[in-house]
Symmetry: C2
Subunit: 353 residues, 2 copies
């Protein structure tokens, strides 16, 4: 090792899902929305003035924050925006989890949580999901330095009813509790109204899934103004201008079109419900998903082999090579056409195993 390497922070980085390129492929591996963003986004893009790029963007992203405040009926002071929900949650780890006590999150959940904890040197404990892949609220009664969990959870897709979320909150009045609602719009009920009752609750959502804007990197958090202020102070101490001008303008447009949002979300939910029937009929089992993906296991087919076979056909799904998950596949809900192509392949494939 060269001497200047001694002070380098060594981390095991998160490995994002493949971003394969090509027009023939069917991409069901990163839970993107199969539909384009709201028409207002395309219109605002066409009208954007490139001369405006020479100036710094509004550091407070006012137009986007105001659109979110109007949409969710909360004060602007209760909203924080970031470069994807990863930026929001990473910043929240850095801001709120300064404790000697371990932060708690499920052993099976978003794979970025342990990565952030390691990056910032945050002690953590990961209570195991139960046999049905469900979070046990009582596991979060123990002493801790903070709590974070996705609801619905990933990659299981399971939604925890709000009374259980509130049970966890009631037992954790003295730490910050983060509920990561990346997939909430596909049938779950948001804990957002609970932020009025629990000052220590931060609810995080993203534009990457239900709003079809993964490429723009927009996430946001809702919580008590004191939480938002602390988060903003840390954010301004890292980078004052994180969200670029197109994200602010186009993000605001996406939020404003509630009709289109309902339409594509309902369509994805309908496709998912059909997928449950079709995949069930093919012998797959899965937890009852409230997200835009299904986490499936087959009674006979090995997940690893099926993953490889799908990839050869240019159908990309997600495989997690880790205990308890390694015989399952996470399949994003695509368009009906994409899903039909998947069923057709599976029908033939399953005849051979």
């Amino acid at each position: 090792m060269r001497p200047w390497e001694a002070n380098i922070r060594r981390v095991v980085p998160y490995v994002p899902g493949d971003q394969p390129k090509g027009s023939r492929l069917i991409k069901l591996n990163t839970n993107e929305n199969p539909y384009p963003p709201a028409p207002g986004v395309a219109k605002a893009l066409r009208e954007m003035d490139p001369e405006a790029f020479r100036k710094y963007p509004d550091p407070s992203s006012s137009c986007l924050v105001e659109a979110l405040a109007a949409r969710y009926g909360v004060d602007k002071e209760r909203i924080f925006v970031g470069v994807g929900s990863d930026d929001v949650i990473g910043m929240a780890f850095l801001t709120f989890f300064n404790s000697e006590k371990p932060v708690l999150f499920p052993d099976i959940s978003y794979s970025f949580y342990p990565v952030w904890a390691d990056l910032f040197g945050i002690p953590h404990k990961t209570p195991a999901l139960d046999g049905e892949f469900k979070i046990r609220p009582e596991d979060y009664y123990q002493e801790n330095g903070g709590v974070v969990f996705p609801n619905p959870n990933a990659p299981t897709g399971i939604f925890m009813p709000l009374n259980q979320v509130e049970d966890i909150l009631r037992h954790n009045r003295d730490v910050v509790v983060i509920v990561d609602e990346a997939y909430i719009d596909f049938g779950g009920t948001s804990a957002l109204p609970l932020t009025e009752k629990y000052e220590n609750l931060l609810v995080v959502q993203t534009f990457s899934k239900s709003r079809a804007m993964a490429g723009m990197r927009i996430g946001f958090a809702v919580g008590h103004p004191d939480l938002i202020r602390a988060l903003s102070d840390v954010k301004y101490s890292y980078n004052s201008y994180t969200m670029n001008l197109p994200s602010q303008i186009l993000g605001a447009e996406a939020v404003k079109d509630q009709v289109y949002f309902q339409e594509i979300t309902s369509r994805i939910i309908a496709t998912r419900e059909r997928a449950k029937e079709r995949l069930g009929a093919l012998g797959f089992t899965f937890p009852d998903s409230m997200t835009n993906f299904l986490f499936v296991t087959h009674e006979r087919a090995s997940a690893r082999e099926l993953f490889a076979a799908l990839k050869r056909e240019q159908i990309y799904v997600r495989y997690f090579d880790q205990p308890r998950l390694d015989n399952s596949l996470r399949i994003t809900i695509g368009t009906d056409g994409e899903m039909e192509a998947l069923y057709a392949f599976l029908e033939n494939y399953l005849k051979t195993v």
Copy 2:
């Protein structure tokens, strides 16, 4: 204090310069480029497909990295890109400055350095600039956990000759040295070629000044592939997808147009040189700037009062309320028209003091 507030990280955030709005105002306060981005940027914006926003962006920002590699004649493995040079340098602090020994940077320089050091708990020492506001290389011979300085420095505008930069490098073989070249394109000579000779050197530049793209948030670093890999690992551990699709596409277009870049840069330099004459004739003194701003003091006029008087006229410049800087103003070089309006105001104003 409520119990859940105990674990919150408390920071004194960086305060960015005002972003006043209005069409009549003259904005010379945040060192933006007075000219629009390269014409290719506007063209690529018009051609951008909003449907592509539904997918995650390329996490490695290949098209932008490739454009930079071609422009600077270096391997792709030697380039790191981030959301503005603030993101790049903040990430570099987190990655490279893991030492018990203090990191060194000048007492007067970019005001974000102490903010990042505080945020990440990095010990630091700030050698004083000399009486002429110059960095003394010998101050950086002492034992340290890393070195960072802007060249040219801000808000002084002074460029340190490359032999002095190399002198600092020769005395610091065992730590990472970051040279922050936000303003290098306005007449300085980049240390970029020194990255071949010094494996521990990281050179950082930005699209916010000379490339007229502050609104897009793009910065980059060049250095040894081992430095870049360590930086990327930390970046992927924080947020895999930081740079959105428009920044990648439009950033690449900006880099490709070297002719336009030379044209607007030369124009700004010419305006700056005229500003030196005109402001000198009005009784202002200033270090010899190699940037797109001048750091001026007047023999009779108080900087604080002049700042307020300019603001009343909707001419915005930057005032730093801190020791050694509080009788100076940092004035961004605008268009010739904007500068003439400034001179006209100053001529009248100075008759009254």
